[in-house]
Amino acid sequence: MESASSGADLQLDDVSKRFPGFTAIEELNLTVPAGSFFALLGPSGCGKTTTLRIVAGLETPTTGRVLIGKDDVTRTPSYRRPVNTVFQSYALFPHMTVLENVAFGLKRRGTKNAIARAHEALQMVELDHVAQRRPAQLSGGQQQRVALARAVVNRPALLLLDEPLGALDLKLRRQMQVELKDIQTDVGITFLHVTHDQEEAMTMADTIAVMNKGRIEQMGAPAELYELPRTAFVANFLGQSNLFAGPVLSAKGDTIVVDVAGRKIAVPRERAQRHAGDVTIGVRPEKLVLHTTEPAPAAGVNLLGPGRVHDVSFSGVSTQYLIAVPGVGTLTLFAQNLVSGPVVSDGAEVWLTWSVDHGFGVADEPAEALRFDPDDDTQAIAIAQRRRIEAELEEA
């Protein structure tokens, strides 16, 4: 019950949650170290919100245990847990003033000088001047900060953030990301942040757990997850990836060599999850280098091509090329705009190379990995759509 201002470890042991008709979480094991900023990242319906609600005490797990510090709180009702939540909709009480909202938790616990502490918390989020207003009179960003103050003021062992930035526009969201991170550093409380926004998770969290279909696919520091995704899902959900399937030709020394449409593609052994049989390997789009003439084979460099550029989209900082390579499929490539304007145009014949060290091999069965539909942005969907229509027209 008593809060620890330095935060406490959160531990989930074999937690599952089944609802009538579906399983939200399957045997989840997770440890969030005290004082960390931990993000649970995944698409909607992956079980991340259910996990958060179980930690908050708003749902009871079907099996498993929840520990905060050393205490088993699995059966503790939410109002007796040293946990506070910043709700997705903020859930500010509309019939109370901002100050009453912030003081609510303190008063329930009979804290002395609740009002003074509520004012302090409002000062922290720079909103003490609106203390007497009703939540409906505040802007979205202000409401979000009040919700944060209302949770933080209780000095919980663990602060839960349920997509708290989802309702804000992009610019405000960026600003709030920075503020949240600062506040976390200041107060030192353990933050558990649930989000579907991979960029948000990467900029804010020390550790990210990527969730999919009720399981944790991979966990680690943001850069680690990005550079070495272990599953096709992580490779595509966290940023974009080019994935290829093929049989392993040789696995001698510290590289494995895979046959991708007749080309030999090498991947460092320690960066590959599977070393024999049919495997799926990949490389990030920004690691690819574009060539307009076939480069000479070189040690430590993979080569694919020739392919044909069928879409060039210029986005200021970089240019995205979509390149169709016969037998492999469509590859995405990001190039920094070091010279002005795109280097090659639509329809050009190109070759692609990348350093062997940048490749990775995922754990999925090849058939499954390639069937996976990545979380495409609308632009990519539009391009795919156009491609399909063009193909149909050609046939006709």
Partner: protein
């Protein structure tokens, strides 16, 4: 150009039609109010001149029968409203917030009284009181009114409950409020406007009900029953006085609450 003109005529035509509609709606009200000031002798049918006498003699005519009936109506209305509001609010919360095995059956049970003509409701209850040997009187009127008010309370409060974000109650629990504190500090205050609306509606329905009352009143008389009985021999002007007073009070309440909420909206709109 032509089209704009036609639209204009259409709008004006509609406005005239609507205003005629309002005149139609208000005619008998104005008549009733006017005749509360009629210097009537026995029957209050012919206009004989203006007087305030009826307003000062409400409880004098017919040995205060009008007054007594009015008092019974108030008593019935208050008790039936309290009972129906409590029972109906509980049902509304259960239906809107919980998963229930008998939801469809319960919903039907609540809908049916509203879809049943009052004469059937009244006759059914009267038949039951007859079978059970319950003597009819103020008690049976209250029982009957509570019954038909419940459904309206459920419908009114349920709309409010389902528009309430469940996250607010969760936030309360998350902020260390026990279940009873969550109810009294969060849920109840937020539902209160809906509950008050439901209670006012109940009272209005009960106060103006005649048909069901007529079947279950026995010798007791409510204000509408008094008017019905008096209609055959002539309704005294004092009945118009009571109706007028109730009308003016209700209109004042409605306009007051409209102004209050309009003012509040304006205050809320003034965001920084």
């Amino acid at each position: 150009m032509n089209r704009g003109l036609r639209l204009g005529i259409g709008t004006w035509g509609l406005a005239v039609y609507a205003i005629l509609g309002f005149v139609l709606l208000l005619t008998p009200i104005v008549y009733t109010i006017a005749f509360s000031f009629n210097d009537s002798v026995k029957s209050n049918i012919v206009w004989r001149g203006f007087t305030f006498d009826n307003w000062t003699s409400i409880c004098v005519v017919e040995n205060g029968a009008v007054c007594e009936a009015f008092g019974t109506s108030i008593l019935v209305g208050v008790v039936a409203t309290l009972a129906a509001t409590a029972l109906g609010t509980a049902i509304a919360i259960a239906l809107a917030r919980y998963r229930l095995r008998f939801r469809a059956a319960a919903t039907l049970l609540i809908f049916l009284p509203m879809a049943t003509p009052e004469v059937v409701l009244g006759a059914g209850l009267a038949a039951q009181f007859l079978t059970a040997g319950v003597p009819k009187g103020v008690g049976t009127i209250i029982l009957a009114h509570t019954m038909f008010c419940i459904s309206f309370v459920v419908v009114t409060v349920r709309a409010r409950v389902s528009s309430l974000d469940p996250a607010l109650e969760e936030a309360g629990r998350d902020l260390y409020a026990s279940p009873s504190q969550v109810w009294w500090r969060i849920t109840f205050p937020l539902l209160l406007p809906g509950i008050i609306a439901a209670a006012l509606l109940s009272f209005a329905l009960s106060f103006d009900d005649f048909i069901i009352t007529n079947f279950n009143a026995g010798a007791a008389s409510t204000f509408p029953k008094y008017v019905y009985t008096a209609a055959a021999r002539g309704i005294p002007a004092q009945a118009n006085v009571i109706a007028t007073a109730v009308f003016l009070l209700a209109i004042a309440l409605v306009i007051g609450s409209q102004l209050y909420s309009a003012g509040r909206r304006k205050r809320l709109a003034r965001t920084p």
